[in-house]
C-alpha cells in the first residue's frame, strides 16, 4: 500500500489570532496528493496558496487540522528532510560556488566531502550547468540561478519537491524553457511536486492536477485533472486539449464567489 505524498486534513490558518488585525488565511483545507503526481495550486494573489505550501513544508504551523508528509507529521518530515524546496528568489549563497550551493543540504545532512561533490556534479548535469560548477552565483543569469536552486532542492533526492512560484521572476521565454526542463527533470527523478503559481498556462502545462483556490479566506474551490499525458513538449502548448483545460481552469477561477473580477489577479500568460 502506498502512502500519500501529502495529506492535508481539515486545516485552517489564522494569522495574528485574537488580535484586531487577525486574518483568516486558509479555511477547511482538505488535500491529498498521490506519489508521482504534479499538483499546482492556483488562485489570485492573497488566496493563501503560498501559505498552504509553507504549511506542508512545516515553515508554518496550522491553527487547526493536520498535515502529513509521507505519512508522518509535517514537522517530522522537515526534520527528516523529506522534501526539497525552491522559492521565487533563487536564494543562492553568494559566497559559495554554484557546486557548493548545491552541496549545502547534503553538507547539513553530514555527507562526506567526496560524496556530496559527486552528487552536486550529477545534479548540475541534470540541470545542464556542468561547466558552471566553480562559478559564483552572481556570474549566472536569473534563469541559470533558478536552475541551480532546483538542483539544490533535488540534491538529496527527496521524494517531494515544493515550489513556490519558482519561475515568477523570469521572463516569458526563459520561463517556458524552464517549464520544459522541470518536466524533464521530474520525469528522470520521479518526484512528486507541489507547485504554486498564478499563471494558468503554466499550471496546465506542468500539472497532472490543478487545484483552484479562492481569495481570503482561502479555500479549495476546484480540482481539475489535466489529461495531457506524461510526454509533453512544445507542441503540447498548441494542442486543443491544452487550451480546453486552460479554459476549464479559467472558468473555475471566474466562477468563484465574491467580486466579479476575481480572476484579475491571475495571469493569462
Amino acid at each position: 500500500m502506498s502512502v500519500d505524498a501529502v495529506e492535508v486534513r481539515g486545516v485552517s490558518k489564522v494569522f495574528n489570532a485574537g488580535r484586531p488585525d487577525s486574518v483568516d488565511a486558509l479555511v477547511d483545507i482538505d488535500l491529498t496528493i498521490e506519489p508521482g503526481s504534479f499538483v499546482s495550486l492556483i488562485g489570485p494573489s492573497g488566496c493563501g496558496k503560498s501559505t498552504l505550501l509553507r504549511l506542508i513544508a512545516n515553515l508554518l504551523e496550522p491553527t487547526t487540522g493536520d498535515v502529513l508528509v509521507n505519512g508522518k507529521p509535517a514537522s517530522r518530515a522537515r526534520l527528516d528532510q523529506d522534501y526539497g524546496m525552491a522559492f521565487q528568489q533563487a536564494g543562492l549563497f553568494d559566497w559559495r560556488s554554484v557546486a557548493k550551493n548545491v552541496e549545502l543540504p547534503l553538507e547539513l545532512k553530514g555527507w562526506s566531502k567526496a560524496d556530496r561533490r559527486a552528487r552536486a556534479l550529477e545534479m548540475l548535469h541534470l540541470v545542464k550547468l556542468d561547466e558552471f560548477a566553480e562559478h559564483l552565483p552572481w556570474q549566472l543569469s536569473g534563469g541559470m540561478q533558478q536552475r541551480v536552486a532546483i538542483a539544490r532542492a533535488l540534491a538529496s533526492h527527496p521524494p517531494l519537491l515544493l515550489m513556490d512560484e519558482p519561475f515568477g521572476a523570469l521572463d516569458e521565454m526563459t520561463r517556458e524553457h524552464m517549464q520544459g526542463e522541470l518536466l524533464r527533470i521530474c520525469g528522470e527523478t520521479s518526484s512528486t511536486v507541489v507547485f504554486v503559481t498564478h499563471s494558468i498556462p503554466e499550471a496546465v502545462y506542468l500539472s497532472t492536477q490543478v487545484v483552484v483556490m479562492s481569495p481570503r479566506p482561502g479555500r479549495i474551490t476546484g480540482r481539475i485533472g489535466v489529461g495531457l499525458g506524461r510526454d509533453r513538449d512544445e507542441a503540447t502548448r498548441e494542442a486543443a486539449d491544452f487550451f480546453a483545460t486552460i479554459t476549464e481552469v479559467r472558468e473555475a477561477l471566474r466562477g468563484l464567489p465574491g467580486p466579479a473580477d476575481i480572476a484579475q489577479g491571475v495571469e493569462d500568460r
Binding site: 527528516d80 528532510q81 524546496m85 521565487q88 553568494d94 559566497w95 547539513l108 543569469s141 534563469g143 540561478q145
Partner: protein, 269 residues
C-alpha cells in the same frame, strides 16, 4: 591565453582612471607655486610647495618618528576596536533586547564628535601615556564596526532563512553557514570607514594635550612657532598616513569579497 586582453584592458582602464586626478594635482601644485611667487605671499601666510617639500625632506627622520607614533595609536585602536566591535555584534545578534538598547545609542554616537572625550581620558592616565589616544580610537572604531557587523548578522535574505529551516538547521548552524558569511562584506565595508577614521581620531586626539610626539601635536607646535612650511610638511605626512590606512582597508575589502558590488545586488550578470 584569454587573460592577456583582459589584463591589458584593466591596465588601460586603471590608467584612464588615474591620469585625470594626477594631471589635476600637478596643475594645482603649479598654480599654488605660481600664486605664492606672483602675488608675493608671505611665508607665514602660505608657503610654496617647493619649500614644503624641502622641509619634508630635511625633517624626514622626525616626520617618520612622529608618523610612527600616530600610526601606532591608530593601528592599535583599530585592531582592538574591531575585535571588540565584532564580539559585541555577535551578542547583539543573539539577544534582541541588547540590540534594541544599544543600536540607537551606537547610531547616535556615530553622529557626535565623541573624540573630544579624549580630554577626559587624559585626566585618567599619566600625561605621557598613549593610552587615552588609543582608547579614543578604539571607541570610534568600535561603534562603526559594531553597527555594521550587527547589521550583516541580522539582515539575512528571508528566502535563505526559510531554506535553512527547511534543512532543519539549528541556530548555531544558521549562524555559521549563513549569518557569519553574510556579515563578512559588512565587516570590510566597516573597515574602509573605520581605517581613515582611526587615523583622523589619532591626530585630533593629540590636540587635547599629552606627549608632543605625534603628527597632530607637531603640526600644532610648528604653527605656534610660525614655521609654516614645516607644519605643512607634517600635514603632508598626515595625508599620506591616512591614505595608506584607507588603501590597505580597500585592498582587504577587494580580496575578501571577490565580485564586489555585484555580490550584493544578487541579480544575474
Amino acid at each position: 591565453m584569454s587573460r592577456s586582453p583582459r589584463a591589458t584592458s584593466s591596465i588601460a582602464s586603471a590608467a584612464s582612471a588615474v591620469w585625470p586626478p594626477v594631471v589635476f594635482g600637478i596643475v594645482f601644485l603649479a598654480a599654488w607655486q605660481a600664486a605664492v611667487r606672483v602675488l608675493d605671499l608671505k611665508p607665514y601666510f602660505l608657503a610654496p610647495p617647493s619649500e614644503i617639500w624641502s622641509e619634508f625632506v630635511q625633517n624626514a627622520s622626525f616626520i617618520w618618528a612622529a608618523a610612527s607614533v600616530s600610526g601606532a595609536n591608530a593601528l592599535v585602536g583599530l585592531l582592538v576596536g574591531t575585535t571588540l566591535g565584532v564580539s559585541m555584534a555577535f551578542v547583539l545578534a543573539r539577544f534582541n533586547v541588547v540590540n534594541k538598547m544599544l543600536t540607537p545609542l551606537a547610531v547616535a554616537l556615530n553622529a557626535v564628535p565623541i573624540f573630544v572625550l579624549v580630554a577626559v581620558f587624559n585626566n585618567m592616565f599619566s600625561i605621557t601615556s598613549e593610552v587615552p589616544r588609543r582608547l579614543m580610537v578604539t571607541l570610534v572604531v568600535y561603534f562603526i564596526v559594531l553597527v555594521n557587523v550587527a547589521r550583516g548578522l541580522r539582515q539575512v535574505d528571508p528566502t535563505q532563512l526559510d531554506l535553512m529551516r527547511s534543512y532543519a538547521a539549528g541556530d548555531v548552524v544558521v549562524l555559521r553557514k549563513l549569518r557569519v558569511p553574510n556579515a563578512v562584506p559588512y565587516l570590510f565595508t566597516a573597515l574602509t570607514i573605520a581605517a581613515p577614521a582611526s587615523v583622523i581620531t589619532a591626530f585630533v586626539s593629540e590636540y587635547f594635550g599629552g606627549s608632543q610626539n605625534g603628527l597632530g601635536s607637531r603640526i600644532v607646535s610648528n604653527i605656534a612657532i610660525s614655521s609654516n612650511a614645516t607644519a605643512w610638511a607634517y600635514v603632508f605626512a598626515a595625508c599620506l598616513l591616512g591614505l595608506a590606512f584607507y588603501l590597505v582597508s580597500v585592498s582587504l575589502e577587494r580580496v575578501a569579497t571577490p565580485g564586489g558590488a555585484g555580490r550584493r545586488r544578487g541579480d544575474g550578470a
